[in-house]
Symmetry: C2
DNA sequence: ACTGCGATTATGTATATACATATCAGAAAG
DNA sequence: CTTTCTGATATGTATATACATAATCGCAGT
């Protein structure tokens, strides 16, 4: 089997220059792990063995193994070797799209409507919504918006923006375009937290969405920080049948 | 400004040996990006400039920059340099925990109950649930389980296992322990897809969970593949107020 | 047996060097 | 004035080497 690796390298080393050697080593090992050929706990060949098998230097092997370790597929132990880890934290990557993009992906015309915009001194509730902060927040901007897909309401947006973090927002009127895309261009955010849950629509939200009171809704909340300072908190409320969140996982593509 | 980097390095180069040099370079640059000091489009110093500033070799700088590029924070262009990318795909990492762990994290005793276990030839519906497959599925195992937190039902699990992918499951009786943890130890999975949505509880589910019919629920569905073959599909149904999904994002921790 | 210590081993990081490759600016040719 | 070619440049990958560090094994001495 070690021979087959060596042969494969011999074959392709002059032919396929599209992928680098360390990438091929990485892929080979990853494939053996995800295929189950090398089960959790299996000790993968030492660096110096792979060095021989692939006919390359240790640095090249090391680059591949280091990346596998960072991706969580293997665990490296000095003096002992590298071992296949058991898939533990079922982590998945969740992509958050702009609502306009979401709606247009459904083939429906997108429309945005501002329902209310208020500037006020941050209340206790507001501070809670924005999340833990080193400084006490000052002024905030509160927004209620409605996003339409075609003629039907698609979701309600309830947003709070910290004017301490984004003073430019004070002079903005979000009548024509939604605050989300504008904020992304304005503030470099360094951390975000999402909470996804289900709830019954309260009276007001139900009315906005054209639902019966108590109808099930999907709620996505997002808090964003920029360099430790809270920037914004949004709550999107979708009718239950209108929306779902999709997350995917594939181990270390490189 | 370049001077301050150089000074900082001079200070710490002999003192703090806890982090490696390339890690410090990586952190320095990442901090400047997420703080907004270096805005999207900004051309970060060339490798040879950083080499000078940090008094190290190009390989060390290259390692740091390559990782930042892989993490999507910068874009590297030959002959032109490396540029700060604008945060585009708002990706967040979602950790899926075992239900036992979830319940015990709430400080409640966990209990598991098997409600039904059926072996049958895969129907069209079953094949749809398992997802796209190269081969036509044969036998499947269908399970309905209930997870308790204390005396109250916590969530309903509705699972389908492909016996073509996991033949050992045919001989298992999931009376005492849930199929999820067992499967993880059994099959190395290579890809997973999650769908999170809200819905009204149907009559049966509502009864199992002790809810009024039509009560809002959070539904998490997961499909798992092992080397292109569908392994299992699960649907967890939670009462709306019992559960939420949390996802976090922090740019490239290393 | 038990303890402590040195030798061994595999990984972790860094260096200087080399050549490949994509790309752009500007010179040369039409 | 446009096209083509050439050289400069920054990144991409790979190598041989070196020393640091953590963990383990086995031996020596109590």
């Amino acid at each position: 089997m070690s021979d087959s690796i060596a042969e494969m390298v011999e074959e392709t080393v002059g032919g396929d220059a599209s992928t680098s050697l360390y990438q091929r080593i990485l892929n080979d090992i990853r494939d053996r792990i995800v295929s189950g050929e090398w089960e959790p706990g299996y000790r993968i060949p030492f660096e110096h063995e792979l060095t021989e098998q692939y006919g390359c230097s240790r640095m090249t092997v090391n680059k591949a193994l280091s990346q596998l370790a960072k991706a969580g597929l293997i665990e490296r132990r000095r003096r002992s070797g590298s071992f296949v880890r058991r898939p533990q934290s079922q982590a998945a990557v969740l992509e958050i799209h702009d609502i306009r993009v979401e709606v247009e992906a459904l083939g429906l015309p997108y429309r945005y409507e501002l329902m209310a915009q208020t500037k006020r001194r941050a209340t206790t509730v507001d501070r809670d919504r924005l999340g833990p902060s080193p400084s006490t927040a000052g002024q905030v901007l509160a927004l209620q918006c409605l996003h339409y897909a075609g003629v039907r309401p698609f979701c309600v947006e309830d947003r709070l923006i910290s004017l301490a973090a984004v003073p430019e927002a004070a002079d903005q009127e979000f009548r024509k375009s939604a605050p989300g895309p504008w904020l992304i261009g304005q503030v470099p955010w360094s951390a975000a937290e999402h909470v996804i849950r289900a709830a019954s629509a309260d009276g007001e939200t139900a009315a906005d969405l054209g639902l019966a009171s108590g109808a099930p809704c999907l709620i996505i909340e997002r808090r964003t920080w920029s360099a430790e300072r809270p920037v914004t908190h949004v709550r999107f409320t979708y009718p239950a049948n209108a929306h779902a969140v999709v997350a995917r996982f594939t181990p270390s593509d490189g």
